[in-house]
């Protein structure tokens, strides 16, 4: 419990430090806030243009698709806030020999790597996603129970955890190769796979995106909880189990890989 409190305090301490750092360069922050907001609006606009033409996508109505889009936006803003900057710093630190300071701290290295950085520029995007979610629920005349919301948040957390674990495994490859500049672009480039309902995937694509690497489920499953139309509880169970195993693999792979760390020549 004491350890948990310590980690909780460090987590918020880091957030405060980043807030302070951000406020040192407020023009830069406001600019990024605007860029992020514009990107979200453009994304919604583009999405609306397609959905309004097709009407229904893989059995999901226009309003349901907006809800899915809202869930994706919440998740995506979280990913960009926490994962992107941290993974970028992680791989750069390994390459530049700055990883020393991570290994020297009396704190879990994986925790530190995941929380040492964050980007507040996605806050507006996150708020837009939340607003959109409640708007879509009202359009659909849905009033999910507290239990539904609890389950939704749990699944959303598992989705974030799954993306984190996959991304972390990929970034950890930086210990094994001299330099991989684009290693952190892999996950952002496959984000489209969870921007659509998992039912769009059929045949081999379905096996790939819902079984082998279930990225197709990360937005769809939490959305289905709120919509009250869970297609398969066994899929949810499978996804949660798969996530936990992936997290364990990421930890094992990290502990194996740091033995390869050579720092930088002096």
């Amino acid at each position: 419990m004491k350890k948990l409190i310590k980690y909780w305090q460090i987590f918020w301490h880091m957030r405060r430090l980043h807030a302070m750092r951000m406020l040192e360069y407020r023009a830069d922050f406001i600019f990024w806030l605007l860029i992020s907001f514009m990107w979200t609006i453009f994304n919604f606009f583009f999405f609306a243009a397609i959905v309004n033409v097709t009407g229904v996508i893989a059995g999901w109505s226009t309003a349901e698709m907006y809800l899915l889009m809202a869930v994706f936006t919440i998740l995506d803003s979280f990913i960009w806030s926490f994962f992107y900057n941290n993974m970028l710093q992680y791989t750069n630190d390994v390459f530049n020999g700055e990883f020393n300071k991570v290994l020297l701290k009396p704190i879990d290295s994986q925790f530190w790597l995941m929380t040492q950085n964050n980007n507040y520029a996605n806050l507006l995007r996150f708020a837009t996603g939340v607003g959109m979610l409640f708007w879509a629920l009202r359009e659909l005349e849905l009033q999910p129970s507290i239990l539904d919301f609890g389950l939704f948040l749990l699944l959303l957390s598992f989705s974030a955890l799954f993306i984190y674990a996959v991304w972390f495994i990929i970034s950890t490859l930086s210990f094994w190769v001299d330099k991989l500049d684009n290693i952190n672009e892999i996950v952002p480039n496959v984000r489209r796979s969870f921007q659509v309902p998992h039912q769009v995937y059929t045949g081999i694509a379905s096996t790939l995106f819902t079984v082998i690497l279930p990225l197709g489920l990360v937005s769809s499953l939490p959305s289905e909880i709120l919509l009250g139309r869970v297609s398969s509880w066994s899929t949810i169970f499978y996804f949660m189990t798969f996530t936990l195993i992936t997290v364990l693999i990421s930890r094992w792979f990290f502990n194996l890989s740091i033995k390869k760390y050579s720092g930088i020549a002096n």
Binding site: G97, L103, Y261
Partner: protein
């Protein structure tokens, strides 16, 4: 030295790296796509030593000798290829929190301070990470701030500090948890002579106040001479000397320096009979004579030459160490 007293114990430590060797030119780069030649570099090769509590030991060696690699291995940053290491009774590679709270590694060329914020913010973060109680933090912080005289820069953005000021703050950040073992890798690099002296005095004071065990690497022999009684010389990954700093002179110095002041001019040929004439600018002469003949030669010179004054000196330790490395390189 018995094992029970040793705070740091290293036995047959080896750390090898695989390094890719590229042939020169574009064709070499293209060829490297499918055919690469790797070479094993023995950064540390079978090194053993023990260090007791409170000792300050200087690691001396040329660039690439294996000093930093040894320190990184002792800190648990690098996984050793072979050998046994114990620091404060821990295997560093296990990176136990209890161990990490008892040592610090300060590298002159790296920093842990938050660049965009005042150093105070890093100190407070370290307080949380190292779980330093409020009272201990205040006491240590006040002591370190006083010793290093940095009270006026604590609220200034780190990026706006001078190199010397940053180094002082780096030391505070590294020492807030009162480490029992301190690894200092070129802590005075790039600093001016005044700042070098301040840091040396501080390291000495820290060692005395906390009875801390310190390993220091530095290219400035002044650091080693002023702080360390014991030195370990590393060359190409091998330990070639481990003992008192003064013993380096006994073991490696082949000559002694005779400084003469002449009362009348003497020819160079005549002077050469007593030893190697290193410098002659009347009335001052510097002769190098074999160590075991120094006293005898001085007596002979006093009897045979018009001399006002004779002084027998040991050659500077920098010169001896340089000679050691040059001789090894020539071999």
């Amino acid at each position: 030295m018995s094992n029970s007293q040793a705070v740091i114990s290293v036995k047959n430590l080896k750390k090898y790296f695989k390094v890719y060797k590229k042939e020169p030119g574009l064709w070499g780069s293209v060829k490297s796509l499918w055919d690469r030649t790797y070479e094993e570099v023995k950064a540390v090769d079978d090194i053993s030593f023990e260090i007791e509590q409170g000792e300050i030991v200087g690691f001396i060696g040329q660039n690439g000798a294996g000093k930093t690699t040894t320190l990184k291995t002792l800190s648990g940053l690098l996984y050793p290829t072979a050998g046994e290491i114990s620091v404060l009774g821990f295997n560093p590679w296990d990176r136990k929190s209890k161990f990490q709270k008892q040592f610090a590694l300060v590298m002159g060329q790296k920093n842990q301070l938050w660049w965009d914020l005042p150093a105070m913010e890093t100190f407070l973060l370290n307080k949380a990470i190292y779980e330093i109680p409020d009272a201990q933090f205040k006491k240590t912080f006040d002591t370190l701030v006083q010793l290093l005289a940095v009270s006026d820069i604590l609220k200034v953005q780190v990026r706006k500090l001078s190199l010397g000021q940053r180094m002082k703050c780096e030391l505070i950040a590294a020492l807030l948890h009162n480490p029992k073992v301190l690894f200092l890798d070129e802590p005075t690099i790039g600093l001016d002579v005044v700042m070098q002296k301040i840091l040396r005095d501080f390291i000495k004071a820290y060692n005395q106040e906390f009875n801390a065990t310190i390993i220091l690497t530095s290219h400035y022999m002044g650091d080693v001479k002023e702080l360390c009684q014991r030195a370990i010389i590393i060359d190409h990954g091998h330990k070639i000397f481990d003992g008192q700093l003064d013993d380096i002179i006994e073991r490696y110095a082949r000559t002694k320096k005779l400084s003469l002041v002449l009362s009348k001019k003497v020819t160079l040929k005549e002077l050469s009979k007593y030893g190697e004439v290193k410098d002659y600018s009347f009335p001052a002469v510097t002769l190098l004579v074999p160590r075991h003949q120094a006293t005898k030669a001085a007596g002979k010179i006093l009897n045979e030459l018009p001399v006002q004054d004779v002084n027998i000196e040991e050659p500077p330790i920098e010169a001896i160490i340089r000679e050691v490395f040059e001789t090894k390189a020539a071999k």
